[in-house]
Symmetry: C2
Subunit: 285 residues, 2 copies
């Protein structure tokens, strides 16, 4: 049972976690800290949080679990504000989509990464934002990747693992760099492509008509372009190197596809499309 959970950043991800924990009666009291006053009030009214803190220091005061759930660009500032204010038994974790930048931020603020800081990343979310969009079932059957460092405190790792499992997730451990490479390919690049395509279309003179005739496939494909731009700006900046590498691989694939079309090589194109369909159908029903 978590006695006092400090939720720093009361958005979709953090609020959904807290809702799930409350449903399981696995947390006694939740203190929320965030920048949007209206969102905090809403979270309070919805019973997502029990109290609004006006500073990070107040939020973490006496907390045995601190969940950092803000865009990556804001993580370092929060670390700095909580420095020296944490209880000795406090466990800290985060939900950032890039783990290397969180580790670097912690190193810069705390000199070494505190053993009771367990970096984490729930592979879940929707294109919506804010406490009002949160729901307890978000993590049911989803995976949460933890990237504990060598100096991790085993008790802290166990507590973070137990918390996510209570929320319905399957917890997996992975190295920091490996996490960032895998996520660059499966999440960060698709977001770049979706934002890029929608922007390219929106720039055209006929864009109203173009969107009007967009089919269902386009709606699905472009859904992730509705995601929070600040969060994704931060992710792209924080995961620059793996993202540029995977983008480069994708460009090579695009070169091949373009050559096939230019050369009217329908057989090669059919082979590529079939391979892709097979790969996707293998992994999703």
């Amino acid at each position: 049972m978590i006695q006092r959970l400090a939720l720093l950043g009361v958005g979709l991800i953090g609020s959904s976690l807290v809702r799930a924990l409350k449903e399981k009666q696995a947390v006694q009291h939740v203190v929320g800290y965030g920048r949007g006053e209206k969102n905090l009030q809403e979270a309070l009214e919805l019973g997502v949080i029990d109290e609004i803190a006006t500073s990070v220091a107040d939020a973490v005061d006496g907390a045995d679990m601190v969940v950092v759930a803000v865009p990556l660009g804001a993580v370092k500032g929060l670390f700095a504000e909580m420095k020296g204010k944490l209880s000795e038994n406090a466990v800290v974790t985060d939900v950032g989509s890039v783990k290397w930048s969180v580790v670097r931020d912690a190193q810069q603020v705390f000199t070494t990464v505190p053993p009771r800081l367990i970096p984490g990343h729930p592979i879940a979310g929707t294109e919506k934002s804010g406490a009002a969009a949160s729901f307890a079932e978000l993590y049911q059957g989803r995976r949460v990747i933890l990237t504990p460092l060598d100096n991790r405190d085993e008790d802290a790792l166990q507590k973070v693992t137990a918390m996510w499992e209570l929320a319905g997730a399957e917890v997996v451990e992975m190295g920091v760099q490996h996490h960032d490479e895998v996520l660059a390919a499966t999440s960060h690049l698709p977001h770049l492509l979706a934002y890029g395509l929608v922007d390219a279309l929106a720039r055209q003179d006929a864009h109203r008509e173009i969107f009007r005739f967009a089919a269902g496939g386009f709606r699905d494909f472009s859904r992730i372009a509705s995601s929070d731009p600040t969060m994704w700006r931060d992710i792209a900046m924080a995961n620059r190197k793996p993202l540029l590498e995977t983008l480069d691989q994708f460009r090579k694939e695009l070169d091949e596809v373009e050559s096939m079309i230019q050369d009217k090589d329908g057989d090669a194109l059919l082979e590529l499309f079939s391979r892709a369909k097979q790969a996707r159908d293998e992994h999703y029903e």
Copy 2:
């Protein structure tokens, strides 16, 4: 009321149209022609079609409405087989995603495009294929683009329009080239990108793990990579020029995005992401 509808190609698109017409009691008898024996039997058992024809000539014999619903690469062959077999009052339409190639096929087979041939394209579909995946509601509230030529027979145009409206669609008329350009951007390019990304990931050694950690956004983004590869090979081949042009524009956008990440220009990236989000949110809720 359509007396005898010849459905050439008994797939998702054609079968869904026929189901909708039957629900409205707008068609008396449907003759199906296609290559997959099992699929035809299924369509017959499901009541989608009332009769299986073993040749195009048999299928169109006495038909007052002929719907060509095959991959684009098969259209020309069907036109050749129906030449000289059509009733005088027969209206012919198709559902191809590229209109220029259908017009060219018709010119090559019939010398000039028959006035009672009205090229059409329903902006609807799913990633599924076959008669068993069809459903009467597919066209509810969706748009159907007709690209009638200057020599069109007004009665034929009216009959095709009425047929689609009965199926629940909004019918829009457009020029052939304009249609192909708009669809290249909103449908054909997204399919290329989705197929390309899934294939690029599947080629990596760690692809099983990569798909395992793919989030919900990736599932949506890549759904269209489950579409029928033959159909999409044909579309890419048939719409080569507009597709290569829109791919070129997208590459320029990707160049810009890449530069922004390389230059750590978070402001520019945020602006681009925000513009894309706004454009998408404007057009879909």
